[in-house]
């Protein structure tokens, strides 16, 4: 089979006589019409798009009134997580208070399905609207408790 046989000839119709001016004018008219209306583009990162109410972005570990984690390290989120992105080391204090000694979410593995939020019996984990975490190292996508407590800090604000 030669190259010619399957190459699509795109220029065939355009070169037809008398068909080039009218479309050009049409296009220019459209441009002119929009030239004076408000632009729909957003100046990210100085401007941010408002996402939907049920958007599922980076996770947040909620704290209670005293600033301690609500999480009781029951492990239900880790259990239900389809890509197994959550790793918890539960710890219990002498009095019986239970909390996560270590809590990691692998944000690269995560598929942002929100099952963890669904499974949590104490409302400790929540998916925020933060969607634009970037970094240079894979290791940095392993979110630990400090990062998970405040995902809003990762909202990209430009330089």
């Amino acid at each position: 089979m030669s190259n010619r046989d399957y190459a699509v000839n795109v220029s065939g119709r355009r070169t037809q006589r008398g068909k080039i001016v009218l479309p050009l004018l049409k296009g220019l008219a459209y441009t002119l019409k929009n030239f004076f209306s408000k632009p729909i583009t957003i100046q990210y990162p100085t401007q941010r798009r408002e996402v939907r109410e049920r958007w599922r972005g980076l996770h947040r570990l909620n704290v209670d009134g005293q600033g301690t984690l609500k999480c009781v390290a029951c492990g239900l989120c880790a259990k239900i997580c389809p890509p197994q992105a959550i790793r918890i080391v539960p710890y219990e204090e002498e009095g019986g208070t239970r909390f996560p000694k270590e809590f990691y979410i692998d944000e690269i593995r995560c598929i942002f399905c929100g099952f963890c939020q669904e499974a949590c019996p104490v409302g400790a984990i929540e998916l925020t609207k933060v969607y634009d975490y970037v970094d240079y190292d894979r290791q940095d996508f392993q979110f630990d408790i400090t990062k998970l407590k405040d995902p809003e800090q990762f909202i990209f604000k430009g330089k």
């Binding site: 009781v72 029951c74 492990g75 880790a78 918890i88 539960p90 019986g96 000694k101 270590e102 104490v122």
Partner: protein, 892 residues
């Protein structure tokens, strides 16, 4: 047995009479939901979950404790039963908070499962919240009163399995029930924790909590005593966070003791050795493996060239795996070229090996542990079984309480087992031959001996008969201090029993007459025809996890693996070929005490110690220390910087049982798997790797891909292990001798014929101990173990849990002696012998008899082995650790 036929859910079932409906349904494959029912416990009937309809009865019946009746028609499932069960659950939930997310049990909670099954999503009833006192019997377990559903499993298990009864349920006005405990008699075995169906009892030791699906559970064999319990290591994120067991698995059937269940903290201890240490300018400094092994290889080669291979001695270990013991003795024999290899069995049961080998032809426990359940009488002597072999003690207690066996305890101390005994004889320490001869005298006089058995299967009976003629009960009573009547009763009880089992431990063996004591017990058992039968036998209880395996695999100076004599040309030829070396030494090597005395005289220049701590465990520590100082070179391979490691020239960090693959051989000769669950900390390596790497440094190639490869080599050279492959023991252990892969193993030795042909009676006269009390040293000192600690304390004292239960060394002193000395409970006394002295706190107790003081040897601060005597048994070279003369004075 008469059978009963009944119909369950339309299925016809035939079961033996007396079976419960629940069991009958089980045989038919019909599941009835249960909550308080547990296979090992008698039916409790407190939860009403297992209710079934029996035709003709208006009320539903509890299936767990209703026996079957002929022709009964049982329905296990109906709308009505479902509602009754659901309501029962709802009532249970009134007092049970739904705090599953923070409950340890979440995910494996029986109540949780049932609540899901019965679709309960809210609690409809309300009740006043209980506020009982929350202190529990042991600090190792946490009690959550609000989660308790009062199913009575814990109380029943404590009573039936441990035979104690620490827990009870009291009925009160508010709240309706209350759990009461008696901490003083609790042995912290964790049986209650094991059977609790909810999270009312949780482990209080590890602060790290893992859910069943988060933790990795690795089945393995326990590393403490010789029972060889099967347990699961719970690993979370590379950290050992707890020990669990599975019902009906292994010899322990899901039970464990305090050490097995709670003594795991040493594994993750920050004090673990993580890098090899080499002594430079008098100080141990960290270095790399290459450098450390280089030093060892160089010094060993130098000493070997200068003074010959017999100037190097090796102490193998009863704590490491079979494979490592094999490699260690192979290293000593093939690479170094000496038979100077021994291990701590010398100090505990070498007299058993010598005694039983001479009598029966095999020095191991003759019967399986569970055999004791079929015994009519059990004679326990020189063994504090409940503390040192708690799982074996469970069997003894079960035999007594459930099977009606008669228990005879002969012990100088009033040990806990005496509570279950029919007769307790308190002999003076060191007079064992006398009372055993006394037993035989009475049995012969009363014609209770097995005449046919003696004629057909034994020799030497006439000499024995002559010898025991003079051991009349009165004469024996004079020597031993046992009342004549008691002696009669005990001898008759054992003589009449068929079969009768003899269990003993170090109270028999650690004497200058140790071998004779063991032979005497062999005499007694053969006299009554109790050897080679189910439920009989002479059973030495092995004190360490793999002391049997270490002996089997040739970590002894006179034998290769499987007790093949080094003096035997054929055996040497076989091992020469297998190992590819020539000129294996034919001369039996040095035993442990001889190694140290050899060091003193300059005969031994270097010692390689793997996983032992002779600076605490061996008698007369001052002497040992002096001997070690004389050595040119000492290598210690251990997991901690033990007292011995502190004086070593090179210290090599090894791995614990949880960090390696291999096998242990338990007391009943069962070879069981040990599996790797963790990585060794830092630079520490598996002992197998260390030995092979050292061999390579010394120019001998010893490479094994896996522990299994070592086992395969063991199987080719050891007839008794030939059929024991990893594949076969994957599901459960096999008892050697197992000569081929289709052999099922041999739980009972000497069944048809004694291993040596005919059993030999030895005529043995009583000889007193090497050191008896006199005016200057009026007390007898006996040493041993306590239930909370293990050996030199290197493992059990590294964790918080067991230490808080027994923080300080206590000398057990009889109140009568204490009154004479003017000593109160909790005072300090100085105990001195001719060799040294220690200061110890006193515990006044009637456990030791008058004139006897008992001190455990776990504590390096007050090492009781500073006092003990090095007098040896002439045959087995076992030191007399159980008897030495001491004086006691009140200390400031």
């Amino acid at each position: 047995m008469s059978m009963v036929t009944l119909t369950i859910d339309g299925k016809e079932v035939t079961v033996p009479k007396g079976t419960t409906i629940l069991e009958a349904a089980g045989t038919a494959g019909i599941r009835i939901p249960t909550l308080c029912f547990h296979e090992r416990l008698s039916p409790i009937g407190s939860c009403r979950m297992c209710v079934v309809d029996v035709e003709g009865c208006s009320q539903p019946m509890a299936a767990c404790d209703t026996p079957v009746a002929e022709g009964a028609r049982v329905a296990t499932d109906s709308e009505r039963l479902f509602r009754i069960r659901q309501d029962s659950l709802k009532l249970i939930l009134v007092n049970h908070p739904l705090d599953c997310p923070i409950c340890d049990k979440g995910g494996e909670c029986l109540l949780q499962d049932l609540v899901y099954e019965f679709g309960i999503d809210k609690v409809e009833y309300q009740a006043r919240k209980p506020q009982p006192d929350t202190t529990y019997a042991t600090p190792l377990i946490r009690y959550w009163p609000e989660r308790c559903i009062y199913c009575l499993r814990c109380a029943t298990a404590c009573r039936e399995i441990k035979g104690i009864g620490v827990i009870d349920i009291e009925t009160t006005d508010n709240p309706g029930h209350m759990l009461t405990v008696n901490p003083e008699i609790c042995v912290s075995c964790g049986e209650c924790l094991k059977v609790c169906p909810t999270g009312a009892l949780t482990e209080n030791l590890s602060r790290y909590k893992g859910r069943p699906w988060l933790v990795n559970r690795v089945p393995t064999t326990c590393t403490y005593c010789g029972c060889g319990c099967q347990l699961e290591l719970n690993v979370l994120g590379g950290r050992l966070i707890g020990i669990t067991t599975t019902d009906e698995v292994g010899v322990n059937r899901g039970s464990l003791c305090m050490k097995g269940r709670f003594g795991y903290e040493f594994v993750g201890s920050p004090e673990r050795l993580t890098r090899p240490l080499v002594r430079k300018n008098g100080k141990l400094e960290e270095t790399g493996w290459d450098a450390a092994l280089g030093v060892v290889a160089e010094r060993f080669s130098m000493i070997k060239n200068e003074s010959g291979p017999d100037a190097i001695a090796g102490l193998s270990s009863a704590r490491v795996t079979n494979e490592e013991n094999y490699l260690f003795q192979k290293f000593m024999r093939a690479v170094i070229g000496t038979n100077n290899v021994d291990h701590c069995a010398r100090l505990c049961l070498s007299s058993t090996a010598a005694g039983l080998d001479a009598t029966f032809g095999s020095g191991a426990m003759t019967n399986a542990i569970e055999d004791v359940l079929s015994a009519e009488a059990i004679l326990v002597t020189g063994s504090n079984t409940t503390e040192n072999h708690p799982i074996f003690a469970n069997y003894i207690i079960e035999a007594v309480l459930k099977h009606g066996a008669k228990l005879i305890v002969v012990d100088p101390r009033r040990i806990d087992l005496v509570d279950y005994a029919h007769i307790w004889l308190q002999q003076k320490p060191g007079t064992d031959v006398a009372w055993i001869n006394g037993f035989m005298h009475i049995i012969l006089k009363e014609n209770l001996h097995a005449r046919q058995y003696i004629e057909q299967r034994t020799t030497g009976f006439e000499e024995l008969e002559k010898c025991i003629e003079k051991y009349t009960p009165e004469y024996v009573s004079d020597i031993t201090g046992i009342p004549v009547d008691d002696l009669y009763e005990a001898a008759r009880t054992y003589g009449k029993a068929s079969p009768g089992s003899i269990l003993y431990a170090l109270g028999i063996t650690q004497h200058t007459s140790g071998t004779n004591n063991v032979k005497s017990l062999g005499n007694l058992a053969m006299l009554c025809g109790n050897v080679g039968v189910k439920g009989g036998g002479v059973n030495p209880l092995r004190g360490q996890n793999n002391v049997q395996g270490a002996c089997d695999l040739g970590a002894l100076p006179n034998v290769f693996t499987g007790y093949q004599q080094v003096a035997d040309i054929a055996a040497r030829e076989k091992f020469s070929q297998a190992w590819g070396v020539e000129n294996l030494s034919a001369e039996p090597g040095l035993t442990v005490p001889e190694m140290f005395s050899g060091a003193e005289t300059g005969r031994v220049k270097a010692v390689y110690i793997m996983g032992e701590n002779p600076m605490i465990s061996d008698p007369d520590i001052n002497h040992i220390k002096h001997c070690i100082e004389k050595l040119d070179f000492l290598v210690v391979q251990d997991i901690f910087l033990t007292e011995t490691a502190q004086v070593a020239d090179v210290v090599l960090p090894g791995a614990v049982f949880a960090e390696k693959e291999g096998t242990f051989t338990n007391s009943e000769r069962k070879v069981q798997r040990v599996r790797k669950a963790l990585e060794p900390p830092g630079d520490a390596r598996e002992d197998r790797w260390i030995i092979t790497a050292l061999a390579e440094k010394m120019g001998s190639y010893m490479e094994y891909m896996h522990a299994e490869a070592v086992m395969d080599e063991i199987r080719t050279v050891t007839p008794s292990y030939a059929g024991i492959s990893y594949e076969r023991i994957e599901g459960g252990g096999i008892a050697w001798p197992c000569p081929s892969v289709d052999h099922p193993g041999t739980p009972i030795l000497h069944a048809k014929e004694f291993t040596r042909g005919k059993g030999v009676f030895f005529a043995i006269d009583f000889q007193p101990s090497a050191e008896t009390p006199d005016d200057e040293y009026p007390f007898i000192l006996s040493t041993g173990r306590v239930k909370q600690h293990y050996h030199t304390g290197t493992m059990t004292r590294k964790g918080r849990g067991l230490t808080q239960l027994y923080p300080e060394l206590l000398a057990e002193v009889n109140p009568a002696d204490a009154a004479r000395l003017g000593v109160q409970d909790g005072d300090y006394v100085t105990i001195s012998s001719r060799r040294g002295s220690i200061k110890v706190k006193v515990w006044l107790t009637d456990r030791p008899g008058e004139g006897v003081v008992f001190v455990p040897f776990h504590f390096h601060e007050a090492a009781v082995n500073l006092l003990t005597n090095t007098a040896l048994d002439p045959v087995a070279k076992i030191p007399e650790l159980k008897v030495c003369a001491v004086k006691m004075e009140k200390a400031s």
